[in-house]
């Protein structure tokens, strides 16, 4: 079975701050990590490979520095890695991102594609489903359990108050929740091996036969971030403690009258 996992390199939001003026992320000096959902998806892929055999390939679109995210995935146990990196890809929105990744996936080949549900920076949860649509694949989002039997996968899909178990014929696409799997650590030997392997880098020229330049990058993106801003924190409420029921009623009434609500 050939599994391809899409991983995005994101800033570690635990350490990220918003620029109060522009409302955008301050990325300088913030460590980059593999998006949480994607690491869970990778772990699921590695476990499937351990059970039924096959290979796990990781794909990342990003700047050259995203190489380290792919090395980390290799050090966890992925077999090979592709970095999609080109000036032409810069400024892509989710649609253009999905177009580029889908094109690469066609070239790589797969039985099962796993993406994360959502990236912790862009946060749209659109790229996975868009890749699925562009490749005309059946897809299951919000996977919290994943198993395989012959040509079929079984996915438990999370809903707010319930869950569905779906049986889907491969090839297909799944978007993974962080809850899907607890990712393993890299191993020391895995890291040494990862730096002895090659990460295949594909630029625009490598994909151009199947890629319309009008559909990628800034000019190929139907959406544009028009403005982004942080939210103002509201003042905390007043806590009235240790009052009897009567005192509480009186205190509330007093406030309501004071504010001319009644």
């Amino acid at each position: 079975m050939k599994i391809v996992v899409c991983i995005k390199q994101v800033p570690d939001t635990a350490e990220v701050k918003l620029d109060p003026k522009t409302g955008t992320l301050i990325r300088d000096g913030v460590p980059s990590i593999i998006n949480h959902d994607d690491r869970a998806g990778l772990e699921a892929a590695l476990q499937l490979r351990e059970r039924v055999g096959g290979t796990v390939t990781v794909v990342c679109m990003g700047p050259p520095q995203a190489d380290v995210a792919l090395r980390e995935a290799l050090a966890m146990g992925a077999d090979d890695a592709y970095l999609l990196s080109a000036r032409e890809f810069g400024g892509s929105d989710t649609y253009a991102t999905a177009t580029i990744i889908a094109t690469a996936l066609k070239k790589i080949g797969f039985d099962l594609v796993i993406t994360g549900r959502q990236a912790i920076d862009g946060d749209t949860a659109q790229v996975g489903p868009q890749i699925g649509e562009q490749l005309r694949l059946p897809q299951v989002s919000y996977a919290e359990e994943l198993d395989v039997d012959g040509d079929y996968i079984f996915v438990k899909r999370q809903f707010e108050d319930s869950a569905h178990v779906l049986k889907v014929k491969m090839p297909c696409l799944v978007t993974a929740l962080s809850e899907l799997c607890e990712p393993r650590y890299m191993s020391v030997r895995g890291i040494v091996d990862a730096y002895e392997k090659t990460v295949t880098v594909w630029g625009f020229d490598d994909l151009k036969n199947d890629l319309n330049p009008e559909w990628i990058g800034l000019k190929g993106s139907p959406t544009n971030v028009f403005q982004s801003f942080g939210k103002k924190m509201r003042d905390p409420g007043t806590l009235l403690k240790d009052l009897t029921a009567d005192q509480a009623v009186e205190a509330i009434m007093e406030k309501l009258i004071e504010r001319h609500i009644i």
């Binding site: 380290v68 090395r71 650590y185 890299m186 020391v188 890291i191 040494v192 091996d193 730096y195």
Partner: protein
């Protein structure tokens, strides 16, 4: 010359750090209080390759290097020095002897399981009458047919409580000084009849580490377990200690950095005289001084490690790194307790443990006085 770690080392450091934070830190206090090492943690260390870092892949190791091993020692010792010594004695003392002096067959048979994560090793040199001065060694090995019969007792054998394999040193020739009469043997602590491992020796620090008296009573050791040439035990042991000192220096750097980090975190929150104690210039200047010393100790440690990786003479460099780093660890941990006041002295916070743990780095694998002998010995003073 480049003082920046390359990408592979950076990623290894990231692994060591996150493993130490998530797996080791939560257990450190409890292990210290119970004076027992958590064997579940030990098997995780094995699983992720922490016990075979600088050894070749062809024997089951990770194929990394001594520099990466110091990064590991620093990161784990930042949160728990006992984990540091378990890794160090196994890697530097036990495995290096077999790696450097074992025959091909011995490496396949004894080194492989140690570095691929199936077995744990220890090192028995010190005796009650032979500490800094090996000449007092009394453990003997007498030839019997093709085998050797071992008798004697080794004190302070780290890891002995759970280790499988021990490199032990015994006199095979009592007519010459120990430096010429000692021979190294590879023994199975758990399987060979006649070996007794004592309870843990009660200690001031690194209390989670296993550290025992191992008694050998008519232990029959087959000839294929003689490690290196007959009578070369002293040389083998000293070579291993040279490697080990790099690990102890890194352990000391880790203890120091771990304690300083705790003090910095605490001092940001703690308010006296209307401001955080980190806003007092005295605290800031002390912290600047401590960080400078830690950085110097780290660079000395890396220098010794890189020299070993490059197959250069590194013994005196390792001794200097250990001498300096162990002193820094004691100074910084004492400062950290002071900077945190009464809370630093309490067991709720880890710095009192770190202060207790720091002391051993000036004692084992050669005391600071012995380090000065090694360093001055290399200076052509006479």
């Amino acid at each position: 010359m480049d003082f920046k770690l390359d990408k592979s080392h950076q990623l290894q450091q990231q692994l060591f750090r996150s493993f130490a934070e998530n797996e080791v830190r939560p257990l450190a206090k409890e292990m210290d209080e119970n004076e027992t090492y958590d064997l579940g943690l030990l098997s995780k260390l094995q699983k992720y390759g922490f016990l075979g870092i600088p050894y070749a892949k062809e024997y089951g190791g990770c194929g990394s290097d001594t520099l990466a091993y110091t990064l590991c020692m620093e990161e784990v010792s930042k949160v728990d020095a006992s984990t540091g010594i378990a890794i160090s004695v196994h890697t530097s003392l036990c495995c290096s002897c077999i790696n450097n002096f074992g025959t091909e067959e011995q490496k396949q048979k004894y080194l492989r399981p140690l570095i691929d994560g199936s077995k744990v090793g220890c090192f028995g040199l010190t005796e009650t009458n032979a500490g800094s001065d090996v000449q007092g060694a009394q453990t003997v090995a007498v030839k019997d047919g093709n085998d050797w019969i071992l008798n004697g007792s080794k004190i302070f054998t780290t890891n002995a409580g759970f280790a499988d394999t021990c490199v032990v040193f015994a006199l095979t020739d009592r007519t010459v000084p120990a430096s010429k009469g000692l021979t190294a043997f590879i023994v199975d602590l758990k399987e060979m009849p006649g070996i007794t491992v004592s309870d843990n020796i009660e200690r001031m620090g690194i209390r989670a580490a296993s550290n025992c008296i191992v008694t050998y009573e008519n232990v029959r050791v087959p000839a294929d377990r003689v490690l290196g040439p007959m009578g070369k035990g002293f040389k083998i042991a000293m070579g291993a200690l040279d490697c080990g000192r790099i690990g102890i220096a890194a352990q000391a750097v880790g203890i120091a950095q771990g304690a300083l980090n705790e003090a910095i975190k605490y001092g940001k929150e703690r308010k006296q005289f209307g401001k955080s104690i980190n806003s007092f210039q005295n605290t800031q200047f002390k912290m600047a001084e401590m960080q400078t010393k830690i950085d110097a100790a780290r660079l000395m440690t890396w220098r010794a490690a890189i020299a070993e990786d490059n197959h250069e003479v590194f013994g005196p460099l390792a001794a200097m790194a250990k001498l300096f780093a162990s002193d820094v660890a004691n100074e910084v941990t004492r400062f950290a307790v002071q900077a945190m006041g009464g809370y630093g002295y309490c067991r709720e916070y880890p710095v009192e443990r770190m202060m207790r743990d720091a002391k051993i780095t000036e004692i084992y694998e050669g005391t600071s006085e012995v380090m000065k002998m090694v360093i001055s010995g290399s200076m052509k003073l006479k």
